[in-house]
């Protein structure tokens, strides 16, 4: 008698690889292959639906049928590693980059990259944002030691095409307005550096200069402010930091190295 684990592995192959697996199934009026095909359709269908929810703009750009083909290829190569399907699809942009059939839509992977950041932002855990007030109690001589913790909804995304304009245009509800807006996008206008997060007012997509983006990258990866400032003009940095705080890029801070100063949580 086959072990359950073995049966489950073969069943996965049957569903994902479309292979005729050595699984002993009672056929009867309907043969085993047709019975298995019901499960294959369910699995591919459920996961395609999950991808569709995260990538509505990609689907609109390529159409339902093309999206379904791309999704199936992606699902077979990279099934979810978690049960929460909101977290499924992280690698879809990279997959689209290498998907030859999509090569003519050069900006598709960038739109997918932006949509994944949007999806992450919408499903992230709730966290209050660090306000400038919370930083007031940090003495001037310790400001260089400030280390920030990124807000859980924040993603920093670089794209080579005007992905935000395409994304906004393609998700316009009214079909006529949509095609006008899409026609107005200059695909050759270059790339963008974006911060995507969920704030009090909902989804926030912030365009950043390359230098501000690099600064944000250093701070959100936990490097002390003093270190991040070494390659940056101080005036610019003060402006950027105020801007990051205003958008709620950070959830919290600590001082590096940790010392006897009161923890942020205890100041109120």
């Amino acid at each position: 008698m086959p072990h359950l684990l073995d049966v489950q592995r073969r069943f996965r192959s049957a569903v994902l690889a479309d292979a005729s697996p050595p699984i002993e199934i009672i056929g009867g009026r309907v043969n085993a292959a047709a019975r298995l095909a019901i499960y294959r359709n369910n699995v591919i269908g459920n996961l395609t639906r999950a991808l569709r929810l995260s990538y509505p703009a990609v689907e609109r750009l390529v159409g339902e049928d093309f999206f379904a083909v791309a999704a199936q290829r992606f699902i077979v190569a990279s099934p979810p590693g978690v049960a929460d399907l909101n977290q499924y699809g992280a690698g879809f942009a990279d997959f689209l980059m290498s998907f030859e059939a999509a090569a003519s839509v050069s900006y598709l992977a960038d739109v997918a990259r932006l949509e994944w950041a949007v999806s992450r932002a919408l499903h992230a855990a709730a966290a209050s944002s660090l306000t400038p007030d919370a930083l007031r109690e940090v003495p001037a001589e310790r400001q260089a030691d400030l280390c920030f913790r990124a807000h859980p909804s924040l993603s920093l995304v670089v794209v080579n095409y005007p992905a935000r304009a395409i994304w906004e245009a393609v998700l316009t509800a009214d079909a006529e307005e949509r095609s006008d807006r899409l026609a107005a996008v200059d695909i050759g206008s270059g790339g963008e550096a974006l911060a995507v997060l969920r704030g009090d007012g909902g989804l926030d997509v912030v365009g950043l200069s390359d230098a501000a983006f690099a600064f944000a990258g250093m701070l959100t990866s936990g490097r002390p402010l003093g270190e991040a400032l070494e390659d940056t003009a101080p005036d610019d940095a003060a402006c950027w930091l105020a801007d990051f705080l205003a958008h709620g890029f950070f959830a919290d801070f600590s001082l590096h190295p940790e010392n006897a100063l009161p923890q942020h949580g205890t100041m109120s």
């Binding site: 298995l36 369910n42 992230a124």
Partner: protein
């Protein structure tokens, strides 16, 4: 009174699920349910849809107005390798925050080698599978600190090496883990049709006292190579045969909280309420009147 009573810390206390009709709440009906506040006995949601914060906030508002049952679809309690601890931790957190009247899952599997296949896949019904499911159910119950209900699946195939009839498998699961059961009437009908079982006999073979809930939903007929199998599509009204089997179940098993589920081609909330009213009348014993209304 001069001093207000001290409220216990934490979320709402569990509201029991009454033995009346409830509806499966899906995202398209969130806003209407919260605004119109229709007279619905209770609601059941898929736990996996409320693991992220914004959706949780909606569920919290629903929970303030209706008793809530948490129905999971992703724990994969039939997985030979055991269940995903992270997912169980997420569910435990959700249950602590929502204090549901019931928590339930399915006799099925969906994950192997950390690949999640997002479907309720069939199990060979063997002693080995029974050991696996018992171990996994016990782990969930220990984590939640309460028994869960296990639902009979709708299936499209049977393994040749299965040795235990499904109702007996469920009965053994109840005896060994102390879990309860959801008797999904539509699933009984679908599986019985697909495998040539006797649906009445199936209902009689279940341990009636362990059944804590009924499910009702619509099904469709497969086409092409898969005809004449029935598919558990949850995309239409409950069929006349399933209503009739529900009446039999009420006679054999008794009244239980009864859920109307609808997951594809989701109609206006009003339609779910109509279906719930039809179930409610049967639960109240006015079976004849309800049948008249169904075909009016």
């Amino acid at each position: 009174m001069a001093v207000a009573a001290v409220q216990p810390a934490g979320g709402p206390r569990p509201a029991p699920i009454p033995a009346v009709a409830g509806i499966g709440l899906r995202a398209p009906h969130h806003a209407e349910l919260l605004e119109r506040r229709p007279a619905v006995g209770w609601v059941e949601v898929h736990s996996e849809n409320y693991l992220s914060e914004p959706s949780f906030t909606v569920l919290e508002q629903v929970r303030a107005r209706y008793p809530v049952s948490l129905h999971s679809v992703g724990l994969s309690l039939g997985s030979a390798e055991g269940i995903d601890r992270r997912h169980l931790a997420d569910l435990t957190t959700l249950a602590r925050r929502i204090e549901p009247g019931l928590v339930s899952e399915h006799l099925a599997w969906g994950a192997v080698d950390h690949d999640f296949l997002a479907d309720l896949l069939p199990l060979p019904l063997t002693e080995e599978s029974l050991d696996v499911v018992c171990r996994n159910v016990s782990e969930v119950q220990d984590a939640l600190g309460r028994p869960i209900l296990m639902e009979n699946p709708s299936t499209y195939l049977q393994f040749r090496h299965s040795t235990i009839p499904e109702p007996e498998f469920l009965g053994a699961l109840v005896a060994r883990t102390g879990c309860g059961l959801i008797c999904d009437i539509n699933n009984v009908f679908v599986s019985a049709t697909n495998h040539g079982w006797d649906a009445q006999q199936y209902l009689r073979a279940l341990p009636a006292e362990a059944i804590g809930e009924f499910h009702l939903a619509g099904h469709s007929e497969a086409d092409g190579d898969a005809a004449p199998l029935l598919l558990d599509t949850h995309d239409r009204r409950v069929s006349p045969q399933v209503w009739s089997l529900f009446e039999n179940a009420l006679a054999i098993i008794g009244r239980r909280p009864t859920l109307i589920e609808w997951d594809a081609a989701i109609p206006p909330l009003r339609v779910l309420q109509e279906e719930a009213a039809l179930a409610g009348r049967r639960l109240a014993g006015n079976v004849g009147e309800a049948r008249d209304a169904a075909f009016a």
